[in-house]
């Protein structure tokens, strides 16, 4: 859980900071002259919590976590460590797959929650310092359309992204063909499949929960 979650926090926060900045500037550009500027807070909050926080964090972690799992299990496969595990009477799925999927399912929402907070925070700081917007105005906009569902919707999506990314990493890793090239191909495939799964799940949750 430390490797899949805690170690992934820096990259997730890095992405969140710049997402918040860009969203704030972009919404100001769109709203100026048409809509009151305090709607910047609403757009930053809704977008970061419901969509960009979970999806961009998921994509980043699909690269980091999915690749890491696929490379680790792929190397274990081609060096016969997986076979060794089975000869010691361990079930490969119970010992290698289930803990990783559970860890990712639990830790993705945690990392995403940090990313949401930092994304909204960076959007707020940008709005106050670079736009003609005060702190009360930003938070007025943020609270205007806020519903508790915004947060849990993002976190539920994020948990499903974690499960999918870890599962793709495990499946591709355990399916690795012999040699470094085989492990490389499995790793690449795991990342691609993880990203694809995130986009499909994103659409699925939008259809089901909105």
């Amino acid at each position: 859980m430390r490797r899949l979650g805690v170690d992934s926090v820096p990259i997730a926060l890095f992405i969140a900071v710049f997402t918040g900045i860009v969203l704030s500037l972009l919404s100001s550009y769109i709203f100026t002259g048409a809509v009151p500027l305090y709607f910047v807070g609403a757009l930053v909050g809704k977008t970061v919590m419901m969509e960009l926080g979970p999806v961009l964090t998921g994509m980043a972690l699909a690269g980091r976590v999915g690749a890491s799992i696929a490379a680790e299990l792929g190397t274990m496969k081609v060096t016969e460590q997986v076979d060794a595990l089975e000869t010691l009477a361990y079930d490969r799925n119970a010992y290698l797959v289930v803990p990783r999927v559970l860890a990712a399912t639990l830790m993705f929402p945690v990392v995403t929650a940090f990313a949401m907070a930092v994304g909204v925070g960076s959007g707020w700081i940008t709005a106050v310092n670079l736009l003609d917007l005060s702190t009360p105005e930003f938070f007025k906009g943020l609270k205007l359309f806020y519903r508790f569902k915004d947060i849990w919707f993002g976190l539920v999506k994020s948990a499903s992204f974690g499960a999918a990314v870890a599962l793709m990493g495990c499946l591709r890793g355990l399916d690795a063909k012999s040699g470094a090239q085989g492990v490389g191909q499995s790793t690449t495939r795991a990342v691609v499949l993880g990203c694809e799964a995130i986009l499909v799940l994103d659409a699925f949750w939008a259809l089901v929960l909105l």
């Binding site: 060096t79 016969e80 076979d83 595990l85 089975e86 079930d91």
Partner: protein, 239 residues
Amino acid sequence: MIELEHLTKTFGVHRVLDGVSLEVPDGQTTVIIGYSGAGKSVTLKCIVGLLVPDHGRVIVDGAVVQDLGREELAELRGRIGYVFQFAALFDSMTVAENIALGLVKRGHDPATISQRIEESLGVVELSGTEDKYPAELSGGMRKRVGIARAIALKPRYILYDEPTSGLDPVTSAVMDQLMVRTRDLGVTGLVVTHDMRSAFCVGDRIAMLYDGRIRQVGTKAEIQATSDPVVRQFIEGRP
């Protein structure tokens, strides 16, 4: 006893095993020799259920391996130690943790596990390496840890996959001694190798796998006196 009955195994269009039949008598070491790619390792993997033969049966202690359920297969694997060609040690674990893994699965208490680790490392003359990681060991030491991991479980059978490949002559001789010592402890051995010096050193019976079948099986003396040109060429190492 391990019995192989008419095993066939095909990968893609390549039939690796084409009717392999062999008996591995208890208390002895049987060596399967053959060219690289002849299917020796595939045969071993069929015995422990890592690969499933297309046809034929693997019978261990009267039970057909392919017919076993998950629990029964796990129980069977508890009776069979497997020494992999490249040791297959878990590189994120220390030597002691590698050896302990199988013991933990079988529910042994910590005191017994420590004792077994100490005993098995003593047998392979690697006492004091408990806290080292596989990356800190030489190839020969890793293979010896692989043997220690297998014998720590006190198995009835040990399958050795190319135990001397890639080792210098002295380390190979040490490995041979270990296999003989393990047999003397009452463990039935099945070794696959193309190292004839090792085969004649450790084997009570030798079988040659050729063209997907057992070409000849017999005692050391019978194999050494063979008139079969294929077996002769192989054991003499003639081009």
